[in-house]
Symmetry: C2
Subunit: 555 residues, 2 copies
Amino acid sequence: MAQTELVFAALGGIGEIGMNLSIYGVGDGRRRQWLMVDCGVSFAAEEHLPGIDLIMPDIRYLIEERKNILGLVLTHGHEDHMGALIDLWPRLNVPIYATPFTAALFEAKRAAEPGAPRIPVNVVPLRGKFGLGPFAIELISVAHSIPESNALAIRTPVGTVVHTGDWKIDPTPLVGSVTDAARLSALGEQGVLALIGDSTNAIRDGRSPSEADVAKTLAELVRSAPARVAVTTFASHVDRIRAVADAARAADREVVVVGRAMERVVQVARETGYLDGVQDFRSAESYGYLPPDKVLALCTGSQGEPRAALSRIAEDEHPDVTLGRGDRVIFSSRAIPGNEKAVDRVINGLVAQGVEVITDRTHLVHVSGHPRRGELLDMIGWVRPKVLIPAHGEPLHLSEHAELARRAGVPQVLLCRNGDLVRLAPGKAEIIDEIPAGRLYKDGTLLVNAEARTVAARRRLSFAGVVSVALALSDRGVLVADPEIELTGVPETDVASAAMIEIARQSVEEAFQSLPKPRRRDPDSVAEAVQRAVRSAIAERWNKKPICHVHVLVV
Amino acid sequence: MAQTELVFAALGGIGEIGMNLSIYGVGDGRRRQWLMVDCGVSFAAEEHLPGIDLIMPDIRYLIEERKNILGLVLTHGHEDHMGALIDLWPRLNVPIYATPFTAALFEAKRAAEPGAPRIPVNVVPLRGKFGLGPFAIELISVAHSIPESNALAIRTPVGTVVHTGDWKIDPTPLVGSVTDAARLSALGEQGVLALIGDSTNAIRDGRSPSEADVAKTLAELVRSAPARVAVTTFASHVDRIRAVADAARAADREVVVVGRAMERVVQVARETGYLDGVQDFRSAESYGYLPPDKVLALCTGSQGEPRAALSRIAEDEHPDVTLGRGDRVIFSSRAIPGNEKAVDRVINGLVAQGVEVITDRTHLVHVSGHPRRGELLDMIGWVRPKVLIPAHGEPLHLSEHAELARRAGVPQVLLCRNGDLVRLAPGKAEIIDEIPAGRLYKDGTLLVNAEARTVAARRRLSFAGVVSVALALSDRGVLVADPEIELTGVPETDVASAAMIEIARQSVEEAFQSLPKPRRRDPDSVAEAVQRAVRSAIAERWNKKPICHVHVLVV
């Protein structure tokens, strides 16, 4: 009989920040039982994919293996770990496991999405343990920028894996747990085969400051503000929401919540006890009735999202909230790579209105939720894995994490890619196979394969526009109506020269006239000649060839 | 008779970084004589303008005033100060003045551009003085990240202006001049009315490190490299090119120049003496013949430009240059805001090939060419202007520069926008008028007005694609051919449901059939009904409405 193996693969999150989805398998190579960990999205704004909002892992392999998937554990409630679930779960229909806050946040998000199916979630307590076939799973609390982030200890008959999820060390968070060093060390004592670890901040030296330090700065900045104050942060960052609430209370200001995502998280955090003892907040409508020195607006939009609260305030287009000279806005956040210009635009809009803007460039108003190098070394020291696989990062981060682990004496460090199937045990860890991996794009309400031509075609349209031409031919190859032409996204030429539509029209006529008569009866020949002529004529003037639809109707 | 006034306006560069174009006018309000300073571009990648490469100032006002423009002075040769000249100069035909390096760089660029007109440039020596009507212009050398950057002292009958251009303080540059504090102080002694000043780094405290410090770090990093080394920097940064050459020579490596922009600058710098004493460089073709520890590739692509040398190397697609495990790449540069993701992509491509990447995040391998706050204070102290107008910056930078100047005791600080016409003298400086200002987009070979619908239309195409439909109708309103339909950039639906083109086809037919018979004879009514139906049917499935061209041919 074949040996029992433990395998690991990522379908997302390795080689990129976002779209986390990992799987662990136990079996003999012919048949495996699977445990899924997380099911997240990436945001397409960062990749210049026109018309695409979200990127998700391609789960065709999991759909095939659906019967062998025992369950899906969510480490925490961030979008890059659970944001693909509403779209992908219906194709898998596997049991989901999550802690109370994560489950409640997911349900609140699902309920707000029109047409989303009911998706049951099994609620597991913090520090809970449960079994799924050959997997004995234990949740280990870790500090992160959302309540109830968990590392997973996954025990199997052939060894134990620690899957860190997203984590950092913060001895003094405002909300929720510290990273459970004792439990991780105990696992290390017992022997850990593999550590699959967050690499996001592996290029940053030292250790993260604490949320308590950020809270102190925020309190001082709110206290000293001469007029109105607005604070923006990631909506799910309950620690930060609590820090802002405390700062407001100390300065005798009411907190007004602005933006739906923020309202949703506040409600979930209240329901799950993470805002116990925090004063009631007010709705955006009450903002205008409060004196400037008695109000603090807690806003969405820290990433410069154009429809979020702060962007609309910066454009002076928010129905309830305005800011002006003497007011102070605090970005308790950092721009995710790719969002820098969008954030700059919001900052400049505010400054142009005379608002003072404070960012983490000059004040400790934000810390990341991911471990820096000192913290990564602590984790390695606690867990003492035989094998380390850097995850959750771009190639640069993975490579730095790998180098750090090697220097720290981890016996084997394995760099892999999405889709690599790694045998963790028995024997030395190695990549033994490749499983289908890729990306799906959420395009409107549809999921399209990243390799489909749709997005590439739209990129071409965005570069050079489109021309459509319609011709009516008799079956003897005679034009029986004036050709119709329409252009979109093609510039007019300079005033002096002929309009582009005239250039196109002339090229259509010339192309048709210069076709030998017999070929004029063949609609495909006509279409091809016209298309080539139109594109060339426009390119001659513009140096770009638009996409061209030619319709030849034979009547 | 009306008083003689001195006025200033920016047509670009205020409220943005890039696209610098300022004008100074002397006259009585009915008629003024103008001096132009700089004529630069912005790069559109930073603004998400699909299909647009460059943004230029709208010069319609200058075209009207063309007869009264006495000349255009280029402060230095960066694209954001001279990059619009090839496209815009033919519309103005005014005398251009520049120092030798700037003039040579401009001519090299012009000669490389197919179809560019001949453009004469009057060469002015460093520290030169010349008169243009009421303007007595003096060039004052300043340190910057390109040779021969100049501040301008502009004397007029009603007062003297110092226009800083781009500058910093660097007591030990490798190439070219230090900032001429003595001359600026002497002007201050004589009395300066207004200082129009670079605000780019007004949010950064302290003072810039020197190019000499950067050179030291580069030398050490090249010396210690175990195998091949590549360095990327801004092509026009001759100081840096020289530092790299010195580092290579000290490490007994040949410098191989990779990328056309770099080749061009090297040639111009040799011709103008800025690489005197520097060893000969090799062409990219010789790279493969040199041992790994005897070569240094000096590459374009520091901004992640997809077609530049380093991007192609990172994708392993360069014909001459390859890098791999053990090699070292140094980014002697910083990502311009908006280019961060593109730079990350190149870094990750290199790291994925095993290359070690060094950036200014961990080593002093780059300094900005713009003044930090300590340097701004020096300039104010030297010039002691009555009025300061912050220029060259986004609103945040202008605002910080303004605040700094106020605290430093400048009697009047004026924040203005592109198009504001400021009377500098006589009397208190104030905005007295608005002149037409705006943006032109370089779209292929055409210049289009930023307000034209072209780019907005392309953005819509990139979001939701296009459908074109052609119908042939008899004059009695009967369809005489099958409708033709084509889609681009619209996704197929899930496999199970009907293809999107079928959904469109059905909607066309239903829309036509449901029109009352008399209206079927009216092509406009038919087109409108079909367009509405197609867009709705697709939106029902996709939640997006594509652009739709409908052609109704009456035969």
